[in-house]
C-alpha cells in the first residue's frame, strides 16, 4: 500500500504542477459610470500603421491618393485606438459612447514626445455603425482624413463617434444639441488623457496644447465645445469649424421658408428626435410634425444600421421631398395687427419656389413633392412664429436690413425655440471666443448654407479679433493667406466636373455632371477646410 501511495504522490505532484501559474489578463474595466470615465484601460488598438504602410494603404485607392496630394506623405505612423467611455445623453442620461484616439508613432521628428492634441468632431452620419477609429473600414473616409491630415503629421487626435452610434445604447443621437455634444467632446478628451499613458506609444505625450476642430455637424460641435471648455476654464490653443450650422435659428428659418438644403430629409428626423429628448415639447405625437406617410417610427429611424438608400427604397423616408408641394395656408389670428396681410405674405413666402426664381431654386425645388416629410401645419406655425419674432437674417420676410442678431425674444414655437437655444449666437459678451477661431466653408454649399451660417457668425463676431473666416470657394477667385488652398479646391472641382463628362467618369452630360458636383459639394469642401485648419493650427502653435 505504501508503494502505491508513493506513486500517487508522484502523479499528484504533476497534477499540482498543473495547478501552478496564472493566465494573462486583459484591460482593466472601470466600474464607474461618471462622465469621462474610460471603460477599458488600456483601450483596444484596432490598427498600427507605420508611415510607409499608411501611405501605401492610402495610395491603393484613387480617393486615398487624392487625399495624399492634399495632406502630403505621412511623416509619422499612426496607432488607432478604440475608446469606450461614459458620457451623458441629450436629457442627461448616463450612457456609454465610443470614439477614436489616434496616436502618432515613429522615430521621425515630431512623432513622439509631447505633441498637441486635436479634439475633432465629425460630420453627420446616418449609419449607426459608424466607428471613426476603424481605419480598416474603407467607408470610414472622415477617419482616414483626420488620420492623414493630423495624426500622421504629429497631432494626437481624439474623436467621438457620438452617443447614439456604434456601441451606444442611447437609442437616438443628440444631434446639434450643443450642451450634450460639447459635454461628450469633453468626456472623450478626459478618457483619452487617461488612456494615452497606457498605450503602446507611451512615449507620445499630451503637450497640453489643445486644439478643437470639426466639420458640418462637427463644426457646430467644435464651436460649442470651445465655448464649454472656455467656460470651464480649460484653455484652447486654437479651433476651427468647417461648414457648420452655427446660426441654427436663421438656418432653420431659411429652410422652413422654402430654401431646402440637400440632405434635409435626413437632418429633420435627427433634429426633431434630438430636441424632443432635450426639451420634451417638440411634439406630442410624431404626426404633429410629420406627414402620415412617414410619421410612424420616424423618431427611431435614424441613425440606422440600414443603409440610407435602403430606407429611401423602403419608403421610410423621402429622398428629397421635405415639404408638401401644395402651399400651406397661413392664418394669423386676428389678435395680431395686420393679420390678414401677414397671412397672405406668409402664405406666399411658403410657396414652392419657381425653378427660375434664383440660381439656387432648382436645388430648393427638390425639397418639395408628394409624398413629403414635414406637414403643412408645422410650416405654417413655424412661419407665424418667425414672422412675429424674426431672426435678424430673415430679411426677405421682414424687409429690414440684415443683422446678425438672434430673434429679439425667445421664440414660442418649440422647434424654433430649440434652434434658438442651440444657436451659437448665444455665445456673446464676456465669454466670446478667447481662442483663435477659423470658420471655413464653401460659399456654394447646398447642404449647410455658408452665408446663413458662417457669414452670419462672421458678422455677429465681427468685432472679435480672434475670429476669422475662410471661403474656400470665393467667386472672385483665390486671394489672401489661404489662396493656395482655395485655388486647389477650385481646380479640383473643375477637374472633377470635366472628368464626369468623360467616358471613364461616366460620360455624363454637362448638366448631369454639374448636378452631381452640387450634390457632392459639401463633402468635397471637407478636406480643404481640414487642410486650412492644419495650416491655421501650425501658425498659431508657432506663435
Amino acid at each position: 500500500m505504501k508503494r502505491i501511495c508513493a506513486a500517487t504522490v508522484v502523479l499528484a505532484a504533476v497534477a499540482t504542477l498543473a495547478a501552478c501559474g496564472s493566465d494573462s489578463t486583459t484591460s482593466t474595466v472601470g466600474s464607474a459610470t461618471t462622465r469621462g470615465t474610460l471603460v477599458e484601460n488600456p483601450p483596444l488598438r484596432i490598427a498600427s500603421l507605420d508611415a510607409a504602410d499608411f501611405q501605401a494603404q492610402l495610395s491603393a485607392s484613387s480617393a486615398g491618393a487624392q487625399l495624399l496630394q492634399l495632406t502630403g506623405p505621412p511623416a509619422c505612423g499612426v496607432d488607432f485606438y478604440y475608446l469606450k467611455f461614459w458620457t451623458v445623453g441629450g436629457a442627461g442620461e448616463t450612457t456609454e459612447s465610443s470614439g477614436a484616439l489616434m496616436v502618432p508613432t515613429g522615430s521621425g521628428a515630431g512623432c513622439s514626445g509631447p505633441r498637441p492634441m486635436l479634439l475633432y468632431a465629425h460630420g453627420t452620419q446616418t449609419n449607426k455603425l459608424l466607428n471613426i477609429a476603424d481605419i480598416t473600414n474603407t467607408s470610414n473616409t472622415e477617419g482616414a482624413l483626420i488620420a492623414a491630415m493630423f495624426a500622421a503629421q504629429g497631432y494626437i487626435v481624439v474623436a467621438p463617434n457620438y452617443a447614439g452610434y456604434d456601441i451606444s445604447t442611447l437609442g437616438y443621437h443628440p444631434f446639434l444639441n450643443a450642451t450634450q455634444q460639447s459635454d461628450e467632446m469633453i468626456d472623450i478628451l478626459s478618457a483619452a488623457r487617461t488612456a494615452l499613458p497606457h498605450t503602446f506609444a507611451a512615449t507620445t505625450k499630451d503637450s497640453g496644447q489643445l486644439l478643437v476642430a470639426g466639420y458640418s455637424e462637427g463644426g457646430h460641435v467644435a464651436v460649442a465645445t470651445v465655448k464649454a471648455l472656455e467656460a470651464a476654464g480649460q484653455p484652447v490653443i486654437a479651433a476651427s469649424g468647417g461648414s457648420g450650422p452655427y446660426a441654427l435659428e436663421a438656418f432653420g428659418d431659411a429652410i422652413m421658408f422654402g430654401n431646402v438644403d440637400i440632405g434635409s430629409t435626413e437632418f429633420a428626423p435627427l433634429l426633431t428626435t434630438s430636441y424632443q429628448h432635450e426639451f420634451g415639447n417638440i411634439y406630442s405625437s410624431t404626426s404633429d410634425i410629420y406627414s402620415s406617410t412617414y410619421a410612424s417610427g420616424i423618431d427611431t429611424l435614424l441613425p440606422s444600421a440600414t443603409p440610407i438608400d435602403t430606407l429611401f427604397a423602403q419608403n421610410k423616408l423621402p429622398e428629397t421631398a421635405l415639404f408638401d408641394s401644395t402651399t400651406p395656408i397661413v392664418t394669423v389670428p386676428n389678435t395680431i395687427p395686420n393679420n390678414v396681410m401677414l397671412s397672405a405674405e406668409l402664405t406666399a413666402a411658403l410657396a414652392e419656389p419657381a425653378p427660375t426664381s434664383s440660381p439656387e431654386a432648382p436645388i430648393f425645388d427638390l425639397g418639395f413633392g408628394n409624398p413629403y416629410l414635414i406637414n403643412n401645419d408645422t410650416r405654417a406655425a413655424y412661419a407665424e412664429d418667425a414672422a412675429l419674432d424674426p431672426d435678424g437674417e430673415d430679411t426677405p420676410l421682414t424687409g429690414m436690413a440684415a443683422s446678425p442678431a438672434l430673434a429679439p425674444s425667445s421664440p414660442s414655437y418649440p422647434l424654433r425655440k430649440a434652434f434658438y437655444l442651440n444657436d451659437m449666437r448665444s455665445w456673446y459678451g464676456s465669454t466670446l471666443p478667447g481662442a483663435p477661431l477659423l470658420m471655413c466653408g464653401g460659399e456654394n454649399d447646398p447642404t449647410v448654407f455658408y452665408p446663413v451660417n458662417t457669414g452670419t457668425m462672421a458678422a455677429f463676431w465681427s468685432a472679435v479679433p480672434t475670429v476669422s473666416t475662410l471661403d474656400i470657394d470665393p467667386a472672385g477667385g483665390p486671394s489672401g493667406p489661404y489662396a493656395a488652398i482655395q485655388g486647389a479646391f477650385q481646380t479640383s472641382e473643375a477637374q472633377q466636373l470635366a472628368y464626369l463628362q468623360t467616358a471613364p467618369g461616366g460620360g455624363l452630360s454637362a448638366t448631369a455632371a454639374a448636378e452631381q458636383m452640387i450634390e457632392g459639394y459639401h463633402v468635397a469642401v471637407d478636406p480643404f477646410c481640414a487642410l486650412a485648419a492644419r495650416a491655421f493650427f501650425t501658425q498659431v502653435l508657432a506663435e
Partner: protein, 235 residues
C-alpha cells in the same frame, strides 16, 4: 486549477479498486504488478485551426502550435498477463503558438511570430493489450483509451498583444478525446524495464481571445502524436 488536480487524484483509486490481480502468487520472478515510468515525450501537434474571427480581424489570420518535448510520467497497473491500465501524464509542456497568415497586421509582424503560450495538462487513461507471455523480455503492446486535455498558464506574448491590439486574456476549452498507442517493453530485470511507444490522440478546443472587451474566436483541432522512450520501475 484545483479541479484538475482532483481529476488526477480521482483516476488512481478508480483504476486500483477495479484491479483484482490474476497473477500467480508464486510467480516471484515476474515483475510486480505496479510500474511507474519516466521518460521523454516528443509531441507533434498537427494543428488544424480555422481563421480567427471577430472584430477588426482581416481574412486569413490563423495560427499554429510549435512541437515540444517534455517529461513523460506514467503509472501502469497490470491486471492480467496481457492487460494493463496506463495512466499517462507528461510534465505539462509550455507550448507556443505562432501566427500564420499575412506577414503583418497593419505594420505589426504576424506570420511566424510567437503570439501566445499555454501549458497543457493532458492525462490519458489507456488500456493496453500486451502480447506474448510475461516470461518474454521483449513484449509489444497496443492500447486504446481516453485523453483529457486542459490548458492553463495561458499567456499572450508581447508580440501577441501587439497583434491583438492590447493585453489579451486567452480562454481555451478543455477537451476529451480518444487516444491510441502502440509500443514495446523490454524487461531488463524483475523491477526495471525500458519502453518505447507511439501514441496519437485527438484534441479539440475553442479559443477565445479577449482584448479590451473585444472578442475574437477560433476552433482548433489538434491531432497530436507522440514518441515516447521511458524507463520503468515495478513494485
Amino acid at each position: 486549477m484545483k479541479r484538475l488536480a482532483w481529476t488526477a487524484r480521482a483516476l488512481l483509486p478508480l483504476a486500483l479498486a477495479t484491479a483484482p490481480s490474476a497473477r500467480a502468487d508464486g510467480a516471484d520472478e515476474l515483475p510486480p504488478p505496479n510500474t511507474v515510468r519516466v521518460g521523454l515525450y516528443d509531441i507533434m501537434y498537427h494543428v488544424n485551426a480555422r481563421d480567427l474571427s471577430g472584430p477588426y480581424v482581416p481574412a486569413g489570420v490563423g495560427l499554429d502550435v510549435q512541437d515540444v518535448q517534455t517529461v513523460y510520467l506514467a503509472y501502469v497497473r497490470e491486471f492480467f498477463y496481457h492487460l494493463d491500465l496506463e495512466l499517462a501524464l507528461g510534465v505539462p509542456p509550455l507550448t507556443k503558438t505562432v501566427g500564420r497568415g499575412p506577414a503583418t497586421l497593419g505594420s505589426v509582424p504576424y506570420n511566424g511570430a510567437i503570439i501566445s503560450s499555454a501549458r497543457w495538462f493532458a492525462p490519458s487513461l489507456v488500456a493496453n493489450y500486451v502480447f506474448l507471455s510475461p516470461e518474454h523480455a521483449l513484449r509489444p503492446y497496443i492500447g486504446v483509451g481516453i485523453n483529457y486535455t486542459s490548458f492553463y498558464d495561458r499567456d499572450s506574448t508581447a508580440s501577441g498583444d501587439a497583434a491583438s491590439g492590447g493585453p489579451t486574456r486567452l480562454s481555451l476549452s478543455s477537451s476529451v478525446g480518444p487516444v491510441g498507442t502502440v509500443g514495446v517493453t523490454y524487461r531488463i530485470d524483475r523491477r526495471w524495464s525500458l519502453y518505447a511507444s507511439y501514441s496519437f490522440s485527438e484534441v479539440q478546443t475553442n479559443l477565445i481571445a479577449n482584448t479590451a472587451g473585444v472578442i475574437r474566436t477560433t476552433h482548433v483541432s489538434f491531432g497530436p502524436d507522440a514518441l515516447i522512450v521511458a524507463a520503468g520501475f515495478s513494485f
